[in-house]
């Protein structure tokens, strides 16, 4: 039994201990002598930080009541137990049906930092399930979460931003985030937050920009992103370039990007070592050079040679974006003149593995050889 105890203590690190001990109560058929009943009841002090989970159906309702208890310790223990339970989507569904989200929203504003941290973790895990995301939108969790934007504890903010990031990957979630007018606060947070959280914010923004970019543009996101393009961290550079890609889709975005002279910075990023950075920079260029002034800015920043080098890159995304960017540039007469000499490069990509790349190469050749 001491072996069992140590094993179980070791296992308590895994998130799912509570889950399977509760839900799988199967009594296995074993060959053996004594007919002692194997009980899945854990030894009582396996994890002193967790609340005892009731059996079967009562687990979640009981935790729901414990969450509302005025005593701090009870709440903390209930949250720890809940963190483990919400890895299972069925539990998430049941929890949302029972109205956990209202209690969790209330607990977000608790004084104790552990409670807040665990609550944000629970919400983040819930958000990774589709049921959870739907519940978020239905119960309006996003505005409640946004109250923690200025929380002093780092972990709370990090979990909150993680939850936002996952929400932003879903179009409806992104709509929810945009509707809560969070974009301007998120953009402003980019200046002051830690690096890890900045990455999450950038991901959230790139998800939301598919829905609406004007608010971000109004908050001066382009200048902030321009600084981030030269950040030492690779992840931040690539994500910032991705956000710029999204921002330069509407016409105002393109104009502002040209205005702030981001295009030369993007051209310099084309020679970065990380393929993601290159791909996103090429993509941003591709969007920014659709306008005539963008084209001429890129041409004056001497964008064609690095882009030509990227046409042969290993990553398909890089190739695709590079070919597209060159297509944009070849619509200008000077670009066309330069690129007429390099048409063979594009012909080489016609039989590329990725269908999108070969299509793009065909279009590029057509545009370059177009005579007015």
């Amino acid at each position: 039994s001491c072996f069992l105890g140590s094993l179980s203590l070791a296992l308590s690190e895994s998130d799912s201990w509570g889950v399977f001990s509760e839900q799988r109560e199967s009594i296995p058929q074993y060959r053996g002598m004594a007919h002692a009943r194997i009980s899945a009841k854990l030894p009582p002090d396996i994890d002193p930080t967790k609340a005892a989970i009731a059996f079967g159906e009562r687990a979640l309702p009981k935790l729901n009541e414990e969450l509302q208890s005025p005593e701090l310790l009870t709440r903390q223990r209930a949250l720890m137990a809940l963190c483990d339970l919400v890895h299972d989507p069925e539990n998430v569904y049941q929890a949302i049906q029972l109205g956990f989200l209202d209690n969790l929203k209330y607990l977000l504003l608790d004084h104790d930092s552990t409670v807040r941290e665990k609550t944000t973790e629970v919400l983040y895990i819930m958000a990774s399930h589709n049921v959870g995301r739907d519940g978020f939108i239905k119960y309006g969790v996003i505005p409640a979460l946004s109250q923690l934007l200025n929380d002093p504890v780092d972990i709370c903010r990090r979990n909150m931003h993680r939850a936002f990031e996952i929400m932003a990957e879903l179009p409806r979630g992104a709509v929810g985030i945009v509707d809560s007018s969070l974009i301007s606060s998120l953009v402003l947070k980019l200046k002051t937050e830690l690096d890890e959280i900045q990455e999450l914010i950038l991901d959230t923004l790139s998800g939301c920009l598919c829905i609406e970019a004007f608010e971000a543009l109004a908050t001066g996101a382009v200048s902030i992103l321009k600084e981030k393009l030269t950040h030492p961290s690779v992840a931040i550079r690539s994500k910032a370039a991705r956000v710029l890609l999204g921002i330069s889709v509407p016409l105002e975005g393109k104009n502002i990007v040209w205005d702030e002279e981001v295009i030369p910075v993007l051209v310099s990023l084309l020679e970065d070592s990380d393929p993601e950075v290159r791909a996103n920079a090429a993509g941003a260029l591709m969007n920014a050079t659709i306008t005539t002034q963008g084209k001429y800015a890129a041409l004056s920043a001497d964008a064609i040679p690095p882009l030509l080098k990227l046409v042969d890159d290993e990553t398909s995304k890089v190739r695709l974006n590079a070919i597209k960017a060159l297509t944009m540039l070849s619509e200008a007469p000077e670009g066309r003149k330069t690129l007429l000499n390099h048409v063979d490069l594009f012909r080489g990509q016609l039989n590329d593995s990725s269908e999108a790349v070969s299509r793009a190469a065909k279009i590029a050749i057509k545009v370059i050889e177009w005579k007015p």
Binding site: L7, R31, A34, M286, I290, T327, M328, E331, A360
Partner: protein, 404 residues
């Protein structure tokens, strides 16, 4: 303890029994009719009057006293079903010993005989008590063979030498000392002690028994781990899918925008060129019109000039400058000079005329004066001739210009 309680109850009832005769009166008065006392009096008087037995208070079944107070507005109305009390539980019923109950007198006035008897009994009790006190001995009874004697030690004064030193010591328990916990009650052991020992391997074989548990545990662990790995794989797949989709979407979006832009540019270019062309045509048309107009005008005005010139010449607008010069300047000057000359001549003539006239007049004077002086007449003749000549000349000269 039960008996004690019963005894208590009895005494309680006794005491209550004393009050019992009053009790019916009071609640009765309080409860139903409220005029029981006067009614009693009336009944007594009626009894005294009629001679038949009459009750001091008519026996009736008394309803229960309410255990709890009713609602504030309830005491006015009586509840309909009147519940009769159980006699056994009625507090007004006297219980227990009735031998020496102090019953209320029939009449309200206390009987003087009763009073006297009471007073005597009271006095006797007091006397008895005093006597008992006096005879109560303070000292214990003498031991067998001894007798208590009162002794007076006045004559034999002794000095109390060996006084035992007495010290007063006080001890006081703490005010609110808790009752000490009851000592553990361990009942005496009954039965016999029997021991047994389970040897190794008798109950179960650990290694065999633990196997299924281990299988379950590890199976569950692996299941859960697999689930989590699958979850993560699923998430990773979804992300990869999304990534590829996003790539395509961005590319397509850019393509769409590029085509839009291209379309726009081409359209604008076409518009511009069309405008240019139309402007060109416009200009051409204007130019040809201009040329036509110019040619026509030229032709029209070709013989305009000669006709104009000729009409002007006809109306005398053109002049020969020499002629004009002569006309305008020379002739007036000549005329002026001629005028002057003529004037001078006239003046000369005039002067001459006056001279002649003077001379003539003088001659005349001189002639009139008969040969006053012949010489002057001669002179005057001369002068007179001169003046006549002059006059004649003058006349002729004046005639000439007049003729001219």
């Amino acid at each position: 303890s039960e008996r004690r309680v019963a005894g208590q109850q009895q005494t309680g009832d006794c005491s209550r029994g004393r009050a019992e005769p009053r009790a019916p009166a009071a609640p009765a008065a309080a409860m139903a009719t409220g005029s029981m006392l006067p009614a009693r009096n009336q009944e007594a008087m009626a009894a005294a009057a009629s001679g038949t037995y009459s009750y001091c208070s008519r026996p009736r079944a008394l309803p229960t006293r309410r255990r709890y107070r009713g609602a504030p507005g309830h005491s006015e109305q009586e509840e309909e079903p009147v519940r009769y009390a159980n006699l056994m539980y009625d507090r007004r019923v006297v219980r227990g010993n009735t031998y020496a109950l102090h019953a209320l007198p029939w009449t309200a006035q206390p009987d003087p005989l009763e009073i006297q008897r009471q007073r005597e009994a009271h006095r006797k009790a007091l006397a008895r008590k005093r006597a008992k006190e006096q005879h109560q001995s303070r000292t214990p009874e003498p031991v067998e063979g001894r007798k208590h004697v009162d002794v007076q030690t006045e004559l034999y004064l002794e000095e109390l030498g060996d006084r035992i030193i007495e010290v007063d010591v006080e001890c006081q328990t703490d005010a609110f000392l808790d009752r000490p916990p009851t000592p553990l009650f361990i009942p005496a052991k009954t039965g016999r002690d029997v021991a047994t020992q389970i040897e190794e391997g008798e109950l179960f074989d650990f290694d065999i028994e633990v196997k299924p548990m281990l299988e379950v545990l590890i199976g569950k662990i692996i299941e859960q781990a697999l689930l989590e790995v699958m979850e993560e794989e699923e998430l990773a797949n979804l992300r990869a899918h999304q990534y590829a989709y996003e790539e395509l979407r961005n590319a397509e979006l850019a393509e769409v925008q590029r085509l839009e832009e291209q379309e726009r540019r081409h359209r604008e270019e076409k518009e511009r060129r069309k405008n240019q062309q139309s402007q060109l045509l416009q200009k051409q048309k204007e130019t040809s019109e201009k040329i036509a107009a110019r040619a026509f005008a030229q032709r029209y005005l070709a013989d305009l000039i000669p006709s104009v010139f000729s009409s002007l010449r006809d109306s005398g607008y053109f002049y020969d400058p020499v002629e004009r010069d002569i006309e305008k300047e020379f002739i007036p000057w000549v005329m002026a000079e001629v005028d002057e000359t003529l004037e001078k001549k006239i003046l000369g003539r005039g002067v001459l005329d006056t001279l002649i006239r003077e001379v003539v007049e003088k001659r005349l004077d001189a002639f009139d004066q008969p040969e006053a002086s012949g010489q002057p007449a001669g002179q005057t003749e001369a002068s007179h001739r001169g003046s006549v000549q002059i006059e004649a000349l003058h006349q002729t000269e004046t005639q000439e210009p007049e003729a001219e």
